[in-house]
């Protein structure tokens, strides 16, 4: 154990450091300049440099800070994903902030701090570090949700998210305390060893259950999902884009790592995940059927997608005991799903934020009538995103859902696979309904007066990234999949584990 963090330690966490430093830098630059463009460029540069900061970890996988942080291929993947989300959100928010007359430096700083927090969360191999990461991302999110201070709904969104999020944090923290009590360590890799015969103790199970509740809230899994539609609806739409993709990816990454490392956990969590997955899928899809507001509909859809991902988790619990197949493909399914989902969700919310108009007035489904004729490219992009959410072939969503489905079948979770298919059919109704409205109905006169809305170039860049990414993953998923399927995604060198012992 080194006396002080050496350069290798710092290089392993370079992305998070860069995001934090640029966040602070933006706060310092804010009084010096009036130029929105300049601040946006600095923010995007920060996000991009953060992603580039992974270069060291890519070539030198391992652990940093005596095992607090894992710099394995798994965390590198999520670091890229989270950085990509940050880049897209910042670019997409630029014109939104100008339109709504909101301060931008603080907004970008908070997005970058949240991104750093998610990065920590996705790479943490120790629960206290994960906790700090979770809090960094959560507290930034609470503030961002209430960023439109003069709008009541934004305040409501922030307050609800803050209160319920604090409860969830308390659950998570209490869970950590109990797990520490049961195993004497907060390091995930050491837990199995120190737990030993105690691995089935009530204390450990109780602790893990509380951790699951805390994280279940953050990913909006039913029955902890009630807050989602209100929070997503009230928050500024670029922030909603961030919420729906970033924290979800990072939190699922942490959950997956807990599985990979703490084998005592896997058996115990099977039924919990089965029930969570089934409930979440139905809660999301049935809720979305009734919505007339696009943001709320997409919020319910994101609950449903959390449910689909949880199906893969249930499969992980089964497969990790199965030496023939192993949990590797199920891990890959989760990571791939999160990538495809994030691209689509950020893209869709970016369109919603542009199309909403000043004060976000045009959010109802009927406002989208006639969009296909008036703005064919935007309508085509949105349709592609919706079809990907639905899981149609040649979109990323198809392979995402396919691999989750396959993992469920491999794990002999036939009923869960059936529920997944049934829910996809329910989902088809509300995704296709919006497409039908866009192409088959005449626009409302009030909306027709304001359209076509000219999309700024940066927003078109965001949409291009999302569209190309969705098609690329939908037609050639192998590049991403090969990376994820190569053995040793999590804890790549077994020597590390033995070293820990």
């Amino acid at each position: 154990m080194s006396a002080f963090p050496n350069s290798a330690d710092l290089l392993h966490v370079l992305p998070e450091l860069i995001w934090c430093v640029f966040g602070a830098l933006l706060m310092l630059l804010q009084p010096l300049t009036q130029s929105r463009r300049f601040l946006t460029i600095v923010a995007v540069m920060g996000a991009i440099l953060g992603v580039c900061g992974n270069f060291y970890s890519v070539h030198n996988t391992g652990t940093a800070f005596s095992g607090l942080i894992a710099a394995d291929r798994f965390s590198i993947f999520f670091s890229h994903l989270i950085g990509l989300i940050a880049i897209m959100v910042i670019l997409g928010a630029n014109s939104y902030l100008e339109r709504e007359r909101l301060a931008d430096a603080e907004f970008y700083a908070l997005v970058l701090f949240a991104t750093a927090g998610m990065g920590v969360l996705a790479s943490a191999q120790e629960l206290l570090t994960a906790f700090i990461g979770l809090e960094m991302s959560s507290i930034s999110s609470y503030i961002l949700a209430g960023y439109r201070r003069d709008v009541l709904k934004s305040g409501e969104s922030s307050m609800k998210y803050f209160l319920l999020g604090s409860f969830a944090t308390a659950f998570f923290l209490y869970g950590i305390a109990l797990v520490y009590g049961a195993t004497g360590t907060t390091n995930l890799l050491r837990m199995d060893i120190t737990a030993g015969a105690e691995s089935t103790s009530i204390l450990l199970k109780l602790g893990l259950a509380l951790i699951l509740i805390g994280l279940g809230f953050k990913v909006a899994a039913a029955p902890f999902q009630i807050w989602t539609p209100d929070v997503y609806e009230g928050a500024p739409t670029p922030v909603t884009a961030l919420f729906s993709a970033g924290p979800k990816a990072a939190t699922f990454a942490l959950l997956l790592r807990i599985f990979a490392d703490v084998h005592a956990a896997t058996q115990f969590w099977f039924y919990a995940f089965w029930i969570l997955a089934a409930l979440t899928m139905f809660a999301g899809n049935l809720g979305a059927l009734l919505q007339t507001n696009v943001k709320r509909m997409l919020a319910y859809s994101s609950i449903a997608h959390a449910g689909y991902i949880l199906v893969a988790f249930a499969a992980v619990t089964k497969l990790s005991a199965d030496t023939n197949i192993g949990a590797g493909p199920a891990y890959a399914a989760v990571a791939f799903y999160l990538l495809s989902y994030a691209l689509v969700k950020v893209g869709a919310f970016t369109i919603v934020s542009q199309f909403g108009g000043a004060g976000e007035k045009h959010l109802s489904l009927d406002d989208y009538a006639g969009l296909g004729e008036r703005q064919p490219f935007v309508a085509a992009a949105l349709s592609l995103f919706l079809l990907s959410l639905l899981g149609l072939p040649i979109t990323a969503g198809f392979f995402g859902k396919f691999y989750v489905f396959k993992a469920a079948v491999d794990a002999h979770l036939i009923w869960l696979a059936v529920l997944l298919a049934a829910n996809s059919i329910i989902g088809a109704y509300y995704y296709i309904r919006l497409i039908v409205i866009m192409y088959m109905r005449d626009p409302i006169p009030e909306v027709a007066a304001t359209t076509p809305i000219r999309f700024p170039v940066v927003v078109n860049v965001v949409l291009a990234i999302a569209v190309i990414g969705t098609l690329w993953l939908g037609i050639l998923p192998n590049y991403a999949l090969n990376y994820l399927l190569k053995p040793g995604l999590i804890n790549d060198s077994q020597s590390q584990i033995t070293q820990m012992k």
């Binding site: 005596s66 908070l110 503030i143």
Partner: protein
Amino acid sequence: MTPQLAIFFVLAALAVIGALNLILQKHPIHSALSLIVVMIALAGLYLLMGAEFVAAVQIIVYGGAIMVLFVFVIMLLNAGVEEKTNISKLAGIAGVPLAVALLGFIAAAIARSNDAAQAGVESGTLASTKEISTMLFKDFVYPFELTSFLILVAILGAIVLAQREN
């Protein structure tokens, strides 16, 4: 009786009296002030056990920050003398036996605890400042430093949400 034991009894008595006063006072401010006495007495007990750091944190965090918060909330709510309702009377009736039962449980647990645990407490090896600083600045230096960014986010949030419209 060793001087240490004498100090222990003085501090323990102070803590218990403060706690009783906290419950029995009618005015919230008086209760809050007697809570400070409890906090400081506890800090003294920690010091007696050789946990200097915990004692200092006890005074700074509980005696200082948390108490200020308490008093601030009482002031904000402009709370007067408390009123007795039926439920609060019921709490008194149910609470006393429960408190006695809890005391009994804890006393029994301490009486049955083994000598090793007691030895650990007496020799002052528990949570020494040196150990805590080694943990904070060596093993957990990364989350520790990240906490400063966490606080920065909170400050930024307070400014963003509370600043005047420009």
